[in-house]
């Protein structure tokens, strides 16, 4: 979503993005002329008149589970977004019985919070597990 019109979105997709991604952008390119939606999400910069690089993960109940907002010159890390979605999905699927420690990826161990784990995380989880 940006403040550009759907017509400009079409041109950007057709002229440039479709040359980067086969078939063009697969998801809807949303238009927010005036920045009203961006303002509701706290990402509209009214001095610059544009939206900052906000990214929101919204769960199936419509609840925001995570967000990240960057200033324009630095791009996002798509793999990190996917990792976070996978982690939130795991937590949801286990109804909160499992939690994902720092640096978790699918296949790495999760933590099962409970009385027996209090003060014992150091025994089961090592700091090098935060890194790939």
């Amino acid at each position: 979503m940006s403040i550009d019109s759907v017509f400009v979105h079409k041109m950007w997709n057709d002229v440039e993005l479709s040359k980067m991604v086969a078939g063009g952008v697969p998801f809807p390119m949303l238009s927010d002329a005036g920045g009203k939606v961006g303002a509701a999400f706290g990402v509209y910069d009214d001095q610059a008149g544009v939206e900052t690089r906000g990214r929101f993960i919204i769960d199936p109940d419509g609840v925001i589970q995570g967000y990240e907002i960057l200033t324009p010159p630095v791009g996002r890390n798509v793999e990190e977004t996917i990792r976070q979605v996978q982690a939130f999905q795991l937590v949801r699927n286990t109804k909160g019985a499992e939690a994902t420690p720092s640096g978790w990826r699918p296949g790495k161990m999760t933590l099962k919070p409970g009385p027996g784990l209090v003060g014992k995380v150091w025994e089961v989880w090592k700091t090098n597990m935060a890194f790939d």
Binding site: S2, V8, W12, R55, P60
Partner: protein
């Protein structure tokens, strides 16, 4: 799910939908300095619903966030088309 729409010369726009922040009916507007409306964005809270026009695979459509209830959504804002990053 998104509904196709016809576009004319008027630039289509969208905006937040749902409960509007209603001003207190009996409060005088003169004395109190205008309060900044702080965005109600917080993890663990509902995302504000909105409807917005969109370009999607060759069509102009209208997209409403609440149509995606039941699915995971990644919503991305960016400064503008053709802005390099």
């Amino acid at each position: 799910m998104p509904e196709e729409m016809t576009v004319g010369c008027a630039r289509p726009t969208g905006g937040p939908v749902g409960e509007e922040p209603s001003p207190a009916p009996d409060s005088p507007t003169s004395t109190a300095p205008a309060k900044e409306v702080s965005p109600m964005i917080m993890v663990g809270r509902k995302a504000p619903d909105f409807a917005a026009p969109a370009y999607h695979q060759g069509k102009f459509v209208s997209v409403k966030l609440s149509e995606f209830l039941g699915k995971w959504v990644v919503l991305c804002f960016y400064p503008g088309d053709f802005t390099f990053v």
